[in-house]
Amino acid sequence: MSFLEYAPAPESTAILNLKAQYGLFIDGEFVDGSGEVFDTISPATEEVIARIAQADASDVDRAVAAARRSYEKVWSRMSGSDRGKYLFRIARLVQERARELAVAESLDNGKPIRETRDVDVPLVAAWFFYYAGWADKLEYAGLGPKPRSLGVAAQVIPWNFPLLMLAWKIAPALAAGNTVVIKPAETTSLTAMLFAEILQQADLPPGVVNIVTGPGATGQALVTHADVNKVAFTGSTDVGRTIARQVAGTSKKLTLELGGKAANIVFDDAAIDQAVEGVVNGIFFNQGHVCCAGSRLLVQENVHDEVVDRLKQRLSTLRLGDPLDKNTDIGAINSAAQLERIRTLSDTGENEGAERWQLDCTVPDKGFWFRPTIFTRVSAAHSIAREEIFGPVLSVLTFRTPEEAVAKANNTPYGLSAGIWTEKASRMLALADRLRAGVIWANTFNKFDPASPFGGYKESGYGREGGRQGLTAYLESSGWQAPIESSAASSRSGRKARKAVAK
């Protein structure tokens, strides 16, 4: 036996205590939905994990009413420091149940346990910790003194990072004093249900967070509901566009985090081994189901062959298979529909003249799988260089000068993220100024931090999540202006305030 065929090291599912069926989470309780119950399956085995209730318009109505009641009577009246205590409690409970959440996420989504354990779940806790700290400091959010919460937030999240996207949405909303109705993606509701249990454990007042499960229609009923004040959506640009139309003409505030087709730009002076590593992480992290994935590799022409060679060599050590095995690098594609889309777009790439290379590895009989793929000889006119594939497929293009790199990187309707690889800091900074993307990574990729705002340009959406900017998406200025003090007076009051804190 070869050493590299590491013996199986599966994470046990014994830690899970799943119910056979999950209801909607409304007003602090699990309740039945009015729609037809549906299965959630493991994309790695196609086995049913649990049954999930489906919310129709009447259920959404109940959820929004609960959120409204809770907003008026409890949450908007609570002090910021008390809201913060609940958020800290949620963060700690997420850490306590981290292993369980990681296993459930891998099972339901198909992503490797290594990622849920080391990335998704730690970031979920980090997001709640970060926004818990903001809850009593809203006057520093940049909207002037006494900014106001918006009311009820309707949130619709995608299937690629189910629990993390839930945290990105719920944590700032709650810190700012809003209540929430959230709809997880149809194929990945499981961890949201475990999160509902955590909310019960945390004793969060009923109705502050409500979770409605179901297909796109449930989400549509939610975002078009007359009594929501804020809509936040992460998902495809097509759906985002529909939501923007539906919300137009209402007083609802809207943030959209949509697709991307990020350029990862590798210069000939880059630290080549680390750049290759970053390119791999940029596109094959989470099976490429990442809106900010570095799906277009722009490599300087004089090092193209060398970089592609090294990429292939590095890819040959990736391990595709059971998401619950601790050594798995590439898990399952989330759904049959997504797999079909990846296949179709890849075939189009080949038909248009690009050269396909795929990792030579065995693929399990059951479940949805796609081998890591690199397309070379891709030109900017090919559809695989323009359309978001949302899978483990990298398109390699070349450039000759920094100007050409910028032009090609910006030549996309999207603008979510970009990466720059060079050892020359002046070039790095000059280039970052000219790239039209919301997030620019230099000599790294796919790094997330709750303190850093995230969001897109152009068809990648608008609004920012994370950081102070992410908080302001859930606040509005009260319009109240502090009386202008003389500098002497303000420094005196500042001293007084510090003294009060010291007591």
Binding site: F3, L4, Y6, Q274, A275
Partner: protein, 337 residues
Amino acid sequence: MTIEHPVALAPADRAVRLLGSDLTEKALRLHLEGLSGVDAVGLEARAAGLSTRSIKASSKAWALDTIIRTCDLTTLEGADTPGKVRSLVAKAVTPDATDPSTPRVAAVCVYGDMVPYAVEALGALHGDPELGLVSIAAVATAFPSGRASLAIKLADTREAVAAGADEIDMVIDRGAFLSGRFGLVFDQIVAVKEACRRADGSFAQLKVILETGELATYDNVRRASWLAILAGADFIKTSTGKVSPAATLPVTLLMLEVIRDWHRLTGERVGMKPAGGIRASKDAVRYLVTVAETVGEEWLTPHLWRFGASSLVNDVLLQRQKLRTGHYSGPDYVTVD
């Protein structure tokens, strides 16, 4: 700027092939300074990523045996005596008397003046570790500082080889390297390699210690690795064990990347030896994973891979006993050497 007169270097075979037959210090410098940089954050992240591999069951059993089979059991103390060396040799030959299936270590590693005692103690078991025998490695060239004249370094080397050392672990002149005198470092390695020649024309294997803890930056480690390989190193080795930090996983990964690149370029296989600071089986397994996923598992043989360690073997033996019996014993169930 003045035009330097070209300083000719010793015509080491590999360097001549790569840099041309009129080998000069300038050509060497241009090559080393033209190497791609190393991003420290990225390198350390990759090493941390490799550390998350979970090696269980049959893979773990194989890994534990491989650690022993590729270990240079080491004693390098001022207080070393013939008795201490005999005891070390006994441990090398029979690491675990309670389990005859335990493999022997690859080599014992001692100071040059201790080589005759090791030869005597090993007797018929002295030989190629690929054949289940035990080699003798001697540190030489004014180990660990390397601060001596070339004549002394060469004499040190020749004496150890003549006494029966199969492998010479030399140190580079870090002072010369850090002050940019790459040619001097290069020529010394070439000269020591020549001093490894035995009377019958065969060579003792040369391991070149970079002392990465003193080179300080990853860029320097990459350059020094290339320099040592070009000068003819059979193995490149991280550390003497006398300077902290000694071997680390990121440094080992980086040196393995150079070995991989040399192999891509020429098809030649250069060996790697991390030394110092590796005490736990768990850490050692991470090194094996790093080798397998960077240069390939064909490197996991005593001819291409060694651990330089003194206390690692006992921890591996405890883990082996645990795999065999299902429960942990304690330090009194493995022998001190």
